[in-house]
């Protein structure tokens, strides 16, 4: 429902930012759930929801409501680096249950899941959630929850601390999508035709620049921290990106702006800052940071920013080296496999354009779309020789 990026470009990129915008979108699409995987995940989560809420089941009296949270709700999923399995998070929200001890709620949801033979084989108990392992494709983390007040705020059991933790996934998603739509006229128009205030899930093909920014930050994070224990939480990246995004439509320039914003803000704070939940100001997302983790996060942002700027505004020497130097830098940021695959897709698209007789050339020798004023058609040819 949220269409924010034109998928068929009639013009070829005329500057580096335009080229980078398209390249980065290709990298994101290669990193996220395919439409088939997405539909599959959706089917699975509806089935889980139906099972948990089924009449006659243990939980039916609590009228459980199952909905996605985290990256699936925000439209910011990326495949974890070096793995094929995605993390997808669901909330199983019961009603009239906040007076119960947290562990009881957790056990009830576990018991209901375990009553299904198929689920029993895939089920795993984690600190706050129950995990269903769909080996080879994804795992669904089911977070048992009770409502906290009427505003979408919930409490979730923490098994280790045996207490209730506050959370508000719907409120956070509403804040994030509000940030996505910042100054976005196109999206405003699209939203008027839509009834649902929150997307149940954002289809993978069409996304706002801010959603892409979060995907790219997660992707570089996964590479930069290479699975280490001090890896920065996605919710911190999402909060900072949403906070510093200023509504630019160009993905690469918006990303540059976000990294500038975070960089200057953090460089001015020498000791570990609080990073507050924008929808629950008492909650500090950075509560597990110490000085070392904070420094590491700052250097991740610094590195990202420097490399991105070098691609957008290369030195003369690097300009002379052409695309090769840029793809090397982009490979450092997002993984050379992903970047090279995106380049192959670009080459194929150019070939299709040429074969379709849709390629033009401007007087400086710059390739353009044939529709561009002043361009002449590039006739078909067959490059020859080994």
């Amino acid at each position: 429902m949220l269409l924010a990026e034109p998928q068929t470009h009639t013009a070829l990129p005329s500057n580096r930012a335009e080229w980078l915008d398209r390249h980065l979108v290709r990298v994101c699409i290669l990193s996220e759930l395919t439409p088939t995987q997405f539909r599959n995940a959706e089917e699975k989560y509806h089935a889980v929801g139906d099972w948990l809420a089924a009449d006659g089941g243990l939980l039916a009296v609590f009228a459980p409501e199952v909905y996605p949270q985290g990256s699936m709700l925000l439209g910011t999923t990326v495949r974890p680096y070096g793995q094929s399995e995605y993390d997808l998070d669901l909330v199983c929200q019961l009603h009239w249950c906040a007076q119960q001890p947290p562990l009881t709620i957790y056990d009830w949801v576990h018991e209901r899941m375990a009553a299904n033979e198929t689920y029993l084989e895939m089920l795993e108990k984690l600190k706050r959630c129950l995990r269903l392992n769909y080996t080879g494709s994804f795992h669904l983390d089911i977070l048992p929850a009770c409502p906290n007040d009427g505003n979408g705020s919930i409490v979730v059991p923490d098994r280790r601390l045996e207490c209730w933790m506050h959370s508000n996934p719907k409120g956070f998603a509403a804040w994030f999508l509000e940030r996505c739509r910042l100054r976005d006229q196109l999206a405003e128009r699209m939203m008027k035709g839509s009834v649902e205030p929150l997307p149940s899930a954002v289809p993978s093909q069409y996304k706002f620049p801010l959603q892409r920014i979060v995907q790219l930050m997660k992707r570089h994070r996964d590479i930069y921290f290479s699975g280490g224990r001090d890896i920065a939480r996605s919710v911190i990246l999402t909060t900072l990106a949403g906070g510093f995004y200023e509504g630019q439509r160009s993905l690469s320039l918006a990303l540059e702006g976000v990294l500038d914003g975070i960089h200057y803000a953090l460089e001015a704070i020498p000791t570990v800052p609080r990073i507050e939940n924008p929808t629950h100001p008492g909650e500090n997302f950075a509560d597990t940071w110490d000085q070392a983790k904070y420094e590491r996060f700052k250097s991740y942002i610094r590195n990202f920013r420097v490399e991105l700027k070098a691609v957008l505004n290369p030195s003369l020497t690097e300009q002379r080296m052409g695309l090769e130097k840029s793809t090397e830098r982009l490979g450092h940021l997002f993984g050379s496999g992903r970047v090279n695959e995106a380049i192959r897709i670009e080459a194929n698209e150019l070939n299709e354009r040429r074969n379709g007789g849709k390629l033009g050339i401007a007087s400086g020798g710059v390739l353009t779309a044939l529709s561009q004023v002043g361009s002449a058609a590039v006739p078909r040819n067959q490059f020859f020789g080994r």
């Binding site: 070829l12 990129p13 005329s14 500057n15 580096r16 335009e18 080229w19 300009q319 002379r320 080296m321 052409g322 695309l323 090769e324 840029s326 380049i343 192959r344 670009e346 080459a347 150019l350 040429r354 390629l359 050339i361 007087s363 400086g364 020798g365 710059v366 390739l367 002449a376 590039v378 006739p379 040819n381 067959q382 490059f383 020859f384 020789g385 080994r386």
Partner: protein, 119 residues
């Protein structure tokens, strides 16, 4: 068979100059030499290129200096006759004929070749 109307060497030069004002074209003893710079897209390097053509022969194209490099050192760049000489078309009358303008075929093909080379 349709007769083709061969374009004269000075007409070819005029077409190149009019479409690519940055190119320098000289005709010496029936040999046209055009030198210029091509930058096929915003991410590409700028290449110094030379086109040579004599009526009755295939046009030849060179990329000056050592601007073209194979992916692996000592390897070969695909679609080249020599390290500085891209092959832009299959040498047959179906691909290129003397009634075609260099400015409308060879130069765009070179730009496209350089784009694929860059990718």
């Amino acid at each position: 068979m349709n007769r083709i109307k061969t374009l004269g060497i000075r007409d070819q030069a005029a077409w190149v100059r009019s479409r690519y004002p940055g190119f320098r074209c000289d005709v010496t003893g029936g040999l046209l030499t055009c030198r210029g710079r091509l930058r096929p897209g915003p991410m590409n390097a700028t290449y110094e290129v030379v086109i040579q053509y004599r009526v009755g022969t295939w046009p030849k194209v060179y990329v000056a200096g050592d601007q073209l490099q194979p992916v692996e050192s000592g390897g070969k760049i695909p679609h080249t006759y020599a390290p500085t000489e891209p092959c832009l078309f299959y040498p047959s009358r179906a691909s290129w004929r003397s009634d075609m303008k260099l400015s409308h075929t060879i130069i765009p093909w070179l730009s496209l070749w350089l784009t694929f080379y860059g990718l």
